[in-house]
Amino acid sequence: MSSFIQLLVSGLENGIAYGLVGLALVLIFQTSRALNFAQGTMAAFCGYVAFELIVTRGFSWVIGAIGATIVGAVLGLGVERIAIRPLLGAPLLSLVIATLAIDAILGNVTQRLWGADVKNLPAPMGGDDWNVGSIVIGRTYVIIAIITLTLLALIAYMLKHTRIGLAMRAFADDQFAAELQGVKPQTVSRTVWMISAAIGGITGVLFGPLLFVQLGYMSPIFIKGFTAAVLGGFVSTSGAVLGGLLMGVLEALAVRYTSASIAPMLPLLVILVALLVRPTGVFNRKLATRRA
């Protein structure tokens, strides 16, 4: 029984991470109507930055994490300006290709700067895990969970109670009309990319100790975060988080009770079924008047 609970715990741990990434992706999609295929590489870049700050230059973990997050935000700004702004209103595939281009460029830059070998990043603030009875709960994952829930709350607050949040909602609903009302697409776009990339940055730092910083280490997380976003119908940030949790648990259970080769397929098939049954998103309570 305890191993079953451990299984659930590890599933939830991974799940919350997927949810965090999914959240970032949903934000981007809501405003730019883009699928950010560069998210994984952007996160990895920030992980390398954290490595540079913490390991190479000896700053504390907190400084390193903050530095990496700031770099992430700047990166988001840059990507938005170069690849997204010129493509305002473009079809989905064009934006996807633009983010893929950024992915290729950034990956190359990362390799040029730091080489191809694997770096280790220390775990946040100590790094010992907590034990509840015989169940182990990873410290890093708890931090991820706290960050995710805080972000959800902050975003919800921002959307409801701030001007920029209102602008974001209007923009997501109807870009054209929002523009007519004086919402500057540049501002909304910029803000959202900064936030999303900053989130990517912090995930890169948090996953550093778990996956070890190397080229492409964030890609599997990105893919799973992507599918989490799908379960939220790509419109709901909380839906993405819930979707991520579901995915994590399903994955853990599948590995345990079927085989590791079938396991990766299972969550995907769930997603497919979910898409077919409820295209608006399984965890999305909003009645969708979405533009596909």
Partner: protein, 432 residues
Amino acid sequence: MIIVRLISSVREARRGWSRKQGDTVRKRTARLGLALLAVLALALAGCASEDAVDTGSQAASSGESSPGVTDSEITFGMATPLTGNASSLGIDGQKGAEVFIKWLNDQGGTNGRKWKLVAQDDGFDLQKKATTVQYLIQQEQVFGIWGDVGSTAVSALPLINEQKVPYLFPYALAKQMIDPVQPYVFMDVPMADMQEHALSDWIADNEPGDHKIGLLTLNSADGGDAVSGFKAGKAGKYVVGEQQYERTATSWQPQLVALRSAGVTDIVIHGSDVWTAKILTEAKGLGMTDVQFYGSSGSVTPQVFALAGDAAEGLRAVAINAPSTATDVPGVKEFTDAFAKYEPGYKPGVFALHSWSSGLILAAGMKGIQGDTVTRDGLVASLEKLKDFDTKGITAPVSFTKDNHEGVDKVMLVQGKGGQWVTMTGFIGTTS
């Protein structure tokens, strides 16, 4: 004027989006374009061929060296992942080869000539591998291809057989490379199943008592071989659980939990150093500190300790080389000294060491070429005469015959002690 028009049409593109999409199939430009297809295909492929000298015809007539050999240089090619996820392996191998070449050239090279390496990226992609090998053979006119990393090597086989180009010591644990025997392919790494078979025998022979062994392997070619190899050995009967993981795995907790419930006393991991380190870290987190872990040859790098810390203390592994940090082994000392001299600041791993040791074998083969001219067939003949070649302790002695290009069938067991790999046994083979 045309520039002005071009700019204005560009501006239009940036402003009005959907209006500028060329939806309509414009037949006239389609036809023009189809005719230009010929030009395009020719241009793209053709401009590469300007400097190429015809290397199509192979085997030198007597008195003529093979391509890749000038009066002063012998050029080898390497098609290996230099970008992408497998790049740390490819780059490690490349650096090892380059340092070896510098070291060798300082001693005068072989055959009165110095060596040169042309390394090209294959991105661990089959299609790119095929074009890269072709490119190296034809455009760079390499004498032979040396030191590639990855099972993509199999896709190069028809090419090198057709062009009769030696394919030397790729780090590719794919059975197709030696079975059936490829006349131009020479290997110096034992296959994954042989490695695990030897480990299995060793455990049964040297660790008496009851074991409950769990296998945790990558779902891949060599992963499958590893499993069958281990089970074919004497300790195969102790296997109580088999778990697999994917390349895209981010956590191994479910697999570890499953094995823990099966009550394992030992876990045999098959995977890279990075994955092994992660698995150990997670296992430690799950409190599985009384389990004896065994890594596979890919884990025998300094990285494991850098990444896993003391979770890797006591880890044992089956290695095809002596560890790259075991400077008590003369060959390894020579290797680390060379790196200190030519590439200080870079910590070489198992693939660099493999390039080094295979370089020693290759140099021996080159030196043994009969006759005045340096030919590919001459190298093949020379290598096939190699018997018990000593790589100064890095690998087991290497032998080739006409029917056996496998090179070695022995491995070594190593152990993690004090943040380093140390040798545990000499070179051992299978005992069953």
